[in-house]
Amino acid sequence: MPAVEPALKFVVVGLAPAALALPAARVLHVVAERDFEGQALDLRALGAAQADAGGHVLLVGRAGDPVALHVCGGIALLTARASEVLPLPDVVSRPAWLSHVIAPRGLPSVFVLDLARLAASRSAGCPWAAHAVHPEI
């Protein structure tokens, strides 16, 4: 019996090629932006492929000290084989704060956010500014 290739699950925000993927295991919770109050990194420029898609705040990192990411666009769960998740070279990933690219059948389509670095640095030096998100009254 052949060995089963492990599958990786990602949370994808937006539509390709502007989609942004986050490892599902690292996403603690998804909150509608109108239900969130607090500081969040503004990533709406990355996933704003759908004009009518609402905004969400993704809580990532540790459970007691999550990092809030304010994103825009539809949110979907994507399951990819491990072979289809390719690491990015440092020259690309480093300035873009990306870690992998998902390339089904060899075609890269979605970049994966480097959540490990983000969690480690606590967003220091990242290109996305933090801003306050207020709940709708």
């Binding site: 699950k9 949370v11 599902a24 295991a25 996403v27 603690l28 919770h29 998804v30 909150v31 509608a32 609402g54 969400h56 949110i75 769960l77």
Partner: protein, 685 residues
Amino acid sequence: MSSQKLIARCVLAFVALDVLFNPLVMVAFLGLFRVEQAHAAAFVLPLLVLAKVAANSAFLSAELGVYGRATSRNGSPGEELLVSADRALQALPRRFGIFYATSWSVTYALAFLSVYYFVPGTLGPRSFDAAGMLVAAVWFGGFAFGFPLVTMLTTNASSGLSIDARARGIALDRDPVGLQWRIGVVALALGLGPTLWMMALGYMKEVQAAADQRGTLSALAVSALAENPASEGPAVARLAEEFRRAHEPLGVQRASLVVTDAALRPLTPVPELDPATLARDWLKTAVQRGTAGTWSPRDRDVSVSFRRLDAQRVAVALVQTPEGASSSFVLSAGVFALIVALWAPLCAVILGRAVSAPIERLTRAAREIVEEGKQSEMAALPVARNDEVGVLTERFNDLLDLMRDLGTAADAIAKGDLRVQIHGKGELPDAFRGMLASLRGMVHQISETSVELGSAATEIFAASQEQEAAAASQSSAMEEISRTMDSLSQSAAHVSEAVRGVLSNAERTLENTDAMVRRISELSTHAGRIAEILEVIREIADKSDLLALNGSLEANRAGEQGHGFALVAGEMRRLAERVTASVQDVKRLVSDIRESGSTTVMATEESRRLAQGTTEAARQITFVTQQQRSGTEQVSQSVKGIADVVTQAVSATAQTRTSAERLKTQADRLTDLVRRFETAAERAA
């Protein structure tokens, strides 16, 4: 003439009259009554005369007061005042004549009484008789002067009032008093005044003569006693009786003789009527002064004479005769006064009648000429004498002849004969000649004018016929226009009716459109509610999606244990996505519905605007139609008015034509009429 001037003239005239006659009358009065102590009377009489003058002046002023008001400078007097002033002037001669005569009588009556009281013994009962005659004489004399003098003085004033009244058309209220009656009254006064004066004078002379005769008889008696002196009483008494018998034809009723001493004590028997006692006062004085004397008063029936016989004796005789004037004198004087009283006015009336009768004939003839116009039938008035009235009658006859000639000429002119010749001199013949010349000129002009008038009437007749035909045609055209305007008015009425229907439909459409707009608005509101509900559903779906997503994430973190939950979460998520998709579809549908509603509302608004436009247009059409109809009716009325005017013009033209015909006829008649006047030129032609 002013009233002050008239009053002054009257007062001066009568003052002059009094100044002239009063001294004469006064002297005559004093002489008549033999007033020897005249100083008292001379003091009283002038005062009485002055009072008389003052009373006359006051009476004249009072009587002429109304004339003064009528002739004052405060404008023209009223009719009533003018008539009153004339009435006062007309009555003044009679009233003042009576007053003036009465003033004379009162003055001399008072003068007589003053002499009677101030000079005692001068006047007796016989003087009262004469005074009565004198008072009556001066009354008539005063009236004879006052009446004609005032008549003369007021003639100018009365004439002025009559002229003023005639100029103003006011009839004066004057009594018609005949001239002869005025003359008769004056003649009566003139006759009775001197007659009564002469009667008084004669009466007093008669009385004086009787007294003188009585004195003479008493002197004779005392002479008889002196020639037969007897100391015995019976002899004296016989002598007295013989004397009485001898002189009884002379009126001696009684004779008394007595011889007294120097102290007038009787030496012979005292007779029944003792002369020494009767005339004792006179005898005492007279015996002291002379040897003989006679006392014979006018107002006593006895006379007493004495003669001193010697130093111790005085013979005294008394004779008694009837006192006063003789009855024959009184009778003859009374008859004479009666004859004067009857004859003087009768003669005056007869004489006045001789004067007034021709004047009355003249007056009657003048009245007949003025009021009845009978000068042509009137015969010439007779001329009896060649006095002023006769001359006046002659001139009246000349005037009558002139008027008759002028009347004949006027008749000839009236009959159309303008060839008559007017003779005579003066303004009236000249005016007739001027009138005749003017009439000839006018006849000539009328003749020419009538010919021109006939020609003009013919032209007017022809023109009026043409005008009448044109007016008749115009009247027909106007009637046709009137009928057309009536038809237009009816059409406008129909259009107005139809437009009212359109207006009703448009208003109903507007109401329906408004209802539709309200319904679509309600539908839009409902669609809005659906959209809100869909939004809630979408939110629920989103939350469900997030919940399913988070569930999937949790299931993923749970590993194999969460696989089943992950499947459920995935199904739930798909369900949420399908709900969201369905919601989006429904929202699109609702949006489409709302868009359709909006489009419908817009279309409905357009329809509403159109309906409003239709309504407004219909109203304007109604208004315009009404205006058109009103205008058409006004035009129709105007056309009818014009038609009426044209009809009147036709009638007027017909009347003008008729008038032209009549004018032509009148012009022809005028021409014929003018041909009746034969002028000298035509006759010569």
